[in-house]
Amino acid sequence: MRLLLPLLLIPLAPAHQPAEVVSDFDVPNPYISYAVNGRFTTGDEVFTLHMELERGFALPFELLIEKRASNEEHRPMYAVVGPGLPPPTDEQRALLPKELPEGVGVFIDKNDDAERLVIFESVMRRFYWSSDTTALALDAGAHEVWVWSPEGTTGDFVIGLGVEEDFSEGTGGLFASWRTYAY
C-alpha cells in the first residue's frame, strides 16, 4: 500500500494515436491527438512534423523522454513554427536548428526545467519525463514542429499533440515498430 499510494499521485497521460517520425511526418488530422515517436541516432537530426490547419486552433504540445538513467542528459527541444506566432528574440533565434522562414513566428520549448514532470503513459506503459504541456493558439495555415537535440545526445523521444483519445484512424504503423520504442 505504501508503494502504491505514490503511484496514484503520478499524472497519467491519456492515450494519443501513436505514429512514427523518421525525418519528416505529415500529421494527417491535427484535430485529433498524436504521440509521434522518433529516435536520435546521431544527435544532429532535425525531425519535422508538418500540419495544415484549416482554421485557428488551440493545440497542446508536449515532449516526452522515457524516464531511465541513460536518458538523464537527453533533453531535446522542440519548436512550433507558423503564421501568427511571435517573431523570435535574438536569443531564441540562436537556439533554432535551422533558418526560420520569412513571415512566420515561433514557440520554443527548451525542455530545461530543473524539476522534470514525470507522467505514466498508458499505451507504451512507460514512465516519461515531460516538458509539460503547453496549449498554443495557432492561426490557420501551414505549421511545422521541429525537434532537435541541442547537446547532440542520442535516444528516443515522443512529441505529443492534442488531448483526446481517438484511434479511429488506426495506429499509424507504430505497433510494427513496437520493439524499437518499447524495449
Partner: protein
C-alpha cells in the same frame, strides 16, 4: 487495500478547471481584438478535456502554460488575460 479499491473504483467527475476558464476567456477576447476565430472547444466547459481525470489534468496544465506563454510573448493582450 479497501481504500485503494475505493480510490480506483470511484468514478471521478471532472469539470472545466479555473485555468482553462481563464484561457478560454483570454482567447475569446483576443480573437475579438484580432478579428480571428480560434477553435478552443476542447477547453470549454462542455469540451472533450473533461471526459477523464487524466485528460483534465493534461488540459489544465496546457491552459495554464498556454496562458503564461501568451502573457510573456504578446504585449497587446486584452485585459481579461491578465486578470
Amino acid at each position: 487495500m479497501t481504500i485503494l479499491m475505493l480510490l480506483l473504483g470511484c468514478a471521478e467527475e471532472v469539470t472545466q478547471t479555473p485555468a482553462c476558464e481563464r484561457y478560454v476567456a483570454c482567447l475569446d477576447a483576443r480573437d475579438e481584438l484580432r478579428g480571428t476565430t480560434t477553435d478552443m472547444l476542447r477547453f470549454e466547459a462542455e469540451g472533450d478535456c473533461w471526459g477523464s481525470p487524466a485528460g483534465a489534468d493534461l488540459c489544465d496544465r496546457a491552459c495554464s502554460n498556454g496562458l503564461s506563454w501568451l502573457l510573456e510573448s504578446e504585449t497587446d493582450l486584452p485585459e481579461v488575460c491578465s486578470s
